[in-house]
Symmetry: C2
Amino acid sequence: MRDVYLAQLDRLADTLAGMCDRVAEAMQHATQALLNADLQLAEQVISDDVGTDELRAAAEEQAFALLALQAPVATDLRVVVSAIHAAGDIERMGDLALHVAQAARRRHPSLVLPDEVAPYFAEMGRVGVALAHKAAEVIRSRDAEAATELEADDDAMDDLHRHMFTVLMDRNWSHGVGPAVDITLLARFYERYADHAVAVARRIVYVVTGRMPGPLTV
Amino acid sequence: MRDVYLAQLDRLADTLAGMCDRVAEAMQHATQALLNADLQLAEQVISDDVGTDELRAAAEEQAFALLALQAPVATDLRVVVSAIHAAGDIERMGDLALHVAQAARRRHPSLVLPDEVAPYFAEMGRVGVALAHKAAEVIRSRDAEAATELEADDDAMDDLHRHMFTVLMDRNWSHGVGPAVDITLLARFYERYADHAVAVARRIVYVVTGRMPGPLTV
């Protein structure tokens, strides 16, 4: 019985890790689409998102099967519910990548970003994608140490996010309100994406250690 | 056994409905603080949010107790997991009200909003607060019909949200980039608040009917 439980739990972890890699790719492509006004790539990210939603549904089904067939109690129960929460976080990361792709599509064939802010978004994309891949690794390795690394990476994202606002608020900003509105929302999408990756890692820490790290800053 | 299960489920529903009323009040106060640059009220919303987080933890504990003691299967299991999701949505609504209050605090003693956009935010606040109270009612009544009403109310929020962008992008916008950035984020907070209220209602529809309504637009 215990072996069946652990095997099913491994399968659920595989599903979640696969979801993380998938939303990492989605954000990588969405960022490329944003930086290059690549309509085809944007469309691909948008149409592929349904696959992430399906994986989330599959993860929930696997979790339900564990709950119904194994009737786990105490820590095991919390592990399964944490996995259900993690699946929700990862699906939301996919939605945020989709929002980035939609911004690229909306302004096509124009570029959304003025040249001087493009490098910040290239970097936010890089940090976000790395966070999602690290979350996948943490799920696969259940390495609580590695999970804490994600918080430092998220600090880098927060710094980039804050810096974007400094650029927008600067007197030398010459691109007017329209691009500023786009950039404000886009920067928020990247920041939230990173927050959800950290939330996933924190749930894994909980699964591994039985203790939740301190409160998430929102 | 069944009676105990149903009594515990009622208690969990009461907790969730109470959370909805609480985040409705938080958004009402946050909107007042925003419109009147009321620092004291903003501080109150910010410090009260921890109470919502505690209620979310209490709801999860009640759900865990149900899962562990009653080992529900099939529909009952999905009901309890839906309640766990709903608790997460409602907690997030509280966070978004807190973000509105933080914006009011950040610009105090100045007003965040130029006079001409203040009425839109008064209306977004009114719609958001009504949505949260309706979600509470839906949880208490388990009335799937009432739940579908929330979708229409959410359309009103989406219209207001879209209209805000039209105002910002207008050539006559004279307030520059700074207020536009604030308004962009604030409008997003209200829109997301409404989305989560609708998500809560949809979960209740699922609990009552056993079927999830069509996909949420994001």
